[in-house]
Assembly symmetry: C2
Homo-oligomer: 247 residues x 2
């Protein structure tokens, strides 16, 4: 079956990518009290993948990760962190592109550098959900947010990559104060608490959470936010330090 898949010279490696090496980014967002990841659907399949790409021969891996991220989200300044490199010998043998994509040039694909074993450098990105413009790549037709607790079937070992990224995010949450990158410029204390609870996976006490956050002297209190609800209006805060930190 012939499908309208444009691989932009990928098969011939016209862009001179490093072979056997890829980059995959877990793009985290926060929306409606849920932690989300941006996934790409492999062309006309039920299988999804992380935002990934390759490293050009003269390109650093951090710039490559930022480039890929820019292409998938439209964002320039993103909090990006390299968390682990995945290199199990069989990691790209299950749910391969060749298994999924049965477009015209399958034979050509099977023999191409794309269908070889890959070691993948894992990054995770923290973005403001509302600012992202999800854009599919050459291998996918849809870019969509998924709830972390309700992931679709995924290519290769991408599910484990997400799992490990979340572990790393949790470990960095308190030390590197990265959570703010998932929120808009201003936010309320309950919103911030919900973010923390969602990432950590367990509830926190309002009083103690607020005490801890305020004691760190990293938040600036703006005005109150009147939502129209029949209760006390929460304060808006903004993060004092620049919220985006690029690798």
């Amino acid at each position: 079956m012939e499908r309208n898949v444009d691989l932009n010279g990928f098969l011939e490696n016209k862009q001179n990518f490093i072979p056997h090496l890829s980059i995959d980014s877990v793009i985290f967002g926060f929306h409606q009290d849920q932690l989300k990841v941006l996934l790409l659907r492999v062309h006309d399949s039920g299988v999804w993948s992380l935002s990934g790409g390759f490293v050009r021969m003269e390109e650093g891996i951090d710039p490559a990760a930022l480039r890929i991220l820019r292409e998938r989200t439209g964002l320039e300044n993103v909090y990006l962190e390299q968390y682990h490199t995945f290199g199990h010998e069989d990691r790209s043998k299950k749910n391969t592109l060749a298994d999924i994509l049965d477009f015209g040039h399958t034979e050509e694909f099977r023999n191409s550098w794309l269908n070889k074993r890959f070691v993948s450098i894992g990054y995770y990105a923290l973005v403001d959900f509302s600012k992202v413009n999800p854009t599919p790549d050459s291998f996918s037709d849809i870019a969509e947010w998924f709830d972390l607790k309700d992931l679709p079937p995924m290519i290769f070992d991408h599910r484990e990559m997400i799992h490990k990224a979340l572990e790393s995010l949790r470990a960095n949450l308190d030390t590197k104060l990265v959570g703010f990158n998932l929120l808009p410029e201003t936010f309320t204390m309950p919103e911030l608490q919900s973010l923390y609870e969602t990432i950590l996976g367990y509830p926190l006490r309002r009083n103690n959470f607020q005490r801890k956050m305020l004691s760190m002297d990293i938040l600036e209190r703006i005005e109150k936010l009147y939502t129209g609800a029949a209760n006390k209006a929460p304060y808006l805060y903004k993060f004092k330090a620049p919220t985006t930190e690029v690798v």
Copy 2:
């Protein structure tokens, strides 16, 4: 100048290594109250390097790291942790092997896959200093321990790799309790404290350190150690959990 360097078919990549990808391990040891790293001297040069190697086409990166470690130390079960992947576009452009090694087949080397740009996966290993049998590889003639505070000139970006490994070790010291892998089977409390102080780089209080260690219920108190010194003999301890954890 012709030198007796045996590259074991490296130049022709007879072992079918993944190109542009390497593994480097920072091997930490602890000796005479000093944190040490095992370095290899590039053949007949004053430049040293980490224990490194390449990944075979059908080999996972963790097994590859263990294989390299085994070759350099003679140890089978080592605590090994992947901490960062280094992929700056220029990282292998300064202090290159080609600059250092001017052995006969320089021209062949300059054109070989070895002289290309490499992305390197960084691991660090924690070993019992006394059990290591330092062994050079094809590119080096001596393997030697260096004090972390007195490092020699190093190839590529290996100095930064060590620095970042130490940062990672420090961050993991309390959470993963990895320090014990640097000590022999049994050790005294002052020895353990010295290890912690050396890694962290600042002094700790005896009383509080002991209280903390004992409260974790991870140490088994053995008999006393009589050294002949004119003072109270310290207890020997051993770590309850298995001290080696392989990636």
